[in-house]
């Protein structure tokens, strides 16, 4: 009886383990290479310097087209910037506020509590300025794509000339990792496109890694706290489980 029940458990467990896999595997069959990031694994944390450089890449390159409407400048404090630095960054942008006492909207310089400035007022304007393609919001992009950060990094570094025999549609660019390989966004990163304050050479790969780290942080700012708490919770539960098992053994000792 024990044997058969255990067997049933094993079958059930095994099937449960593989069951969710197909839900994620479905779709495009382009293999995304696994990239090592500072935030991989249970004890991984965001490389702050890299994420700060990544913000610079976003600010100077991506933000021309891509919004990050869920983030505020104050969030940058979590990347290790000081209050003054955040205030200075926010002040570089003008935001529309109002209405004032005369009922007029007015412009003022940004404050840390303001959301990241959006390059376009709405989706239609964004499409109109980009040949009909919509530059997606990047706030949660690593959560919103199969492959997450690996995919973003692969996409940013995956531009190449179309292979022989592939006809590109007008205005499209060839990317190894984009589903269908034809992407409206031109290769966004070029060597030395930004100048890092800390002297890190701005290669395409470096910039892609930095901006991916920044985007991963933006999508899951709670990640470090979550994992740290998780380790403690699991440890606690393991001890509690041992105790509960001991109690159970003791209670049942007189039955058999």
């Amino acid at each position: 009886m024990l044997r058969s029940t255990l067997k049933a458990f094993a079958i059930l467990g095994g099937l449960l383990a593989i069951a969710p896999a197909p839900a994620r595997a479905a779709g495009e069959a382009i293999a995304i290479p696994d990239t090592r990031f500072s935030f991989d694994g249970i004890f991984g944390t965001y490389d702050r310097a890299s994420a700060q450089r990544g913000f610079q890449v976003y600010k100077e390159v991506c933000s021309a087209c891509h919004s990050m409407r869920l983030l505020s400048y104050r969030n940058l404090r979590e990347l290790g910037l000081t209050e003054q630095q955040v205030a200075a960054i926010a002040a570089q942008f003008t935001v529309t506020d109002g209405p004032n006492d005369e009922g007029q909207m007015f412009e003022r310089s940004g404050r840390p509590s303001d959301r990241f400035r959006r390059p376009f007022p709405n989706q239609q304007a964004a499409r109109a300025a980009n040949n009909g393609a919509y530059p997606v919001d990047l706030s949660v992009i690593t959560k919103a794509r199969l492959g997450g950060a690996d995919y973003i990094f692969a996409l940013l570094t995956g531009y190449q000339d179309p292979p022989a025999g592939v006809t590109m549609m007008d205005g499209m660019n060839y990317n190894r990792y984009f589903p269908g390989h034809q992407i409206a966004m031109a290769a966004p990163l070029n060597p030395d496109q930004v100048e890092y304050a800390d002297g890190t050479p701005a290669t395409v790969e470096q910039m892609a890694r930095d901006v991916t780290t920044f985007l991963a942080w933006a999508a899951e700012p709670e990640l470090e706290q979550r994992r740290a708490m998780g380790v403690k919770v699991i440890l606690f539960l393991t001890i509690l489980g041992g105790l509960a098992y001991a109690v159970k053994r003791k209670v049942w000792a007189d039955v058999h």
Partner: protein
């Protein structure tokens, strides 16, 4: 003893005072303290209590999420992300709620599977079983509507596809769909009513769970042997034996739950639901949440719209009549060699359907889905009714105590030491 007061056995004066006027302590003592419970439960019998805990977790986290959520198409997505970013521990509460739904289905699937394997649905527990199926249906409806609330792409298109199922019904179909939508498509009125119902239904579930437990405590629990307890030697008081065992199981369940929440919170979800809903763009590949996949595969296995919908609903509805389809007097599959293999094969089919449901609607998945669907129904409608007549069950043990404690010749299958030693 004043007239009209309940005769309470409790010593503590406060407890006694309350108990005399409203004997909830006596009731708790009877139903969860001394309640005679078969002594041979294995760990499959933990899952009812786990489901109860899971329901409480869902309600608690849900109430706190509702304090921050905005049920409006323009704000729903952002308000959920605000919970994740700005609300203190909002990410924790939301991930617990989100993964709690998956945990709930894992627990309930195992709970149902246990009922099917050990014949818990058979007389006199038919009503207990049917109430369970009602809970399962309510859970599915609640889960579906909850999944719509974040208003991501999968929320929107899942809602569109599932509500459109009802349009398959002749005459009243379109009327029902309009009733669900409150408009001409899935839109703000739909989101609002789904939020309202999503908040309501868990409390309906609590009510049905109460009935489920009431029915359980009339018939008493089934057990792995499927042999009714014949006397005190066959049972143990629920407390401390099964409270201790359930507590241990509960901690194991929490460990699995915590692993999901803290380390892979989005593993069971779909990335597309982090893209805000866009009524103009359908995702390349729509899949429901994993726990709906088997039923989704049954839907897609049928080339006819109405037929698919009916078969999908039928796959659950057939559970209602299961107690009458299975005509064998023997409950536990331990003593039904052929039925046991048939049922394990049914279990495999369930997972095959789950797999096919996640795959695109193309070959070979369509054919595989059809075969698995055919077996899914054949098991209930053909195999079980026939086996009741044709199968020769193994000899049953005389009593639980005899099977558990040994002594005298026992049937081979029941002779092994019970699970409790593990």
């Amino acid at each position: 003893m004043a007239i009209g007061l309940h005769n309470s056995d409790f010593k503590n004066p406060v407890v006694r005072w309350i108990d005399q006027r409203m004997p909830i302590f006596t009731m708790m003592q009877k139903e969860y303290g001394t309640f005679p419970t078969p002594r041979n439960f294995n760990y499959f019998w933990n899952f009812g209590a786990l489901a109860m805990v899971n329901l409480m977790i869902m309600i608690a986290t849900g109430i706190f999420l509702a304090m921050h959520y905005t049920p409006h198409t323009a704000y729903a997505f952002d308000s959920v992300e605000r919970i994740m970013r700005d609300v203190n521990f909002g990410w924790l509460i939301r991930y617990v709620h989100m993964n709690g739904a998956s945990m709930f289905f894992i627990v309930v699937f195992i709970h149902i599977w246990r009922g099917m394997y050990y014949g818990s649905y058979k007389a006199p527990r038919e009503l207990l079983w049917m109430l369970g199926v009602v809970i399962f249906l309510l859970m599915m409806a609640t889960a579906f509507m909850g999944y719509v609330l974040p208003w991501g792409q999968m929320s929107f298109w899942g809602a569109t596809v599932i509500t459109n199922l009802f349009s398959a019904f002749p005459v009243v179909g379109d009327w029902i769909v309009a009733l669900l939508w409150g408009g001409f498509s899935v839109d703000n009125p739909t989101l609002n009513r789904f939020f309202s119902l999503h908040y309501l239904m868990p409390f309906v579930i609590v009510g049905v769970v109460f009935l489920h437990v009431v029915a359980l405590h009339i018939t008493g629990s089934n057990n792995p042997l499927g042999v009714e307890p014949k006397g005190p030697q066959d049972t143990l008081p629920f407390h401390p034996y099964y409270t201790a065992k359930d507590s241990f199981g509960l901690v194991i369940y929490f460990i699995v739950f915590a692993s999901l929440v803290f380390f892979v919170p989005n593993m069971l979800g779909h990335p597309d639901n982090y893209i805000p809903a866009d009524p103009l763009v359908t995702p390349a590949h729509i899949v429901p949440e994993w726990y709906f996949l088997p039923f989704y595969a049954i839907l897609r296995a049928v080339p006819d719209k109405l037929g698919g919908v009916l078969l999908m609903f039928g796959s659950i509805a057939v559970l209602f009549v299961l107690p009458w389809l299975d005509s064998s007097p023997v409950r536990s599959m331990r003593f039904r060699p052929i039925a046991r293999i048939s049922f394990l094969l049914w279990t495999v089919c369930f997972f095959v359907l789950m797999y096919c449901g996640a795959m695109p609607a193309e070959e070979p998945y369509v054919t595989v889905s059809r075969i698995a669907t055919a077996y899914y129904f054949a098991y209930f409608l053909v195999i079980l009714p026939l086996l009741g007549r044709l199968e020769r069950p193994l000899p049953l043990p005389e009593s639980i105590a005899r099977a558990v404690l040994g002594g005298g010749p026992l049937p081979a299958g029941a002779a092994a030491k019970p699970m409790e030693k593990a």
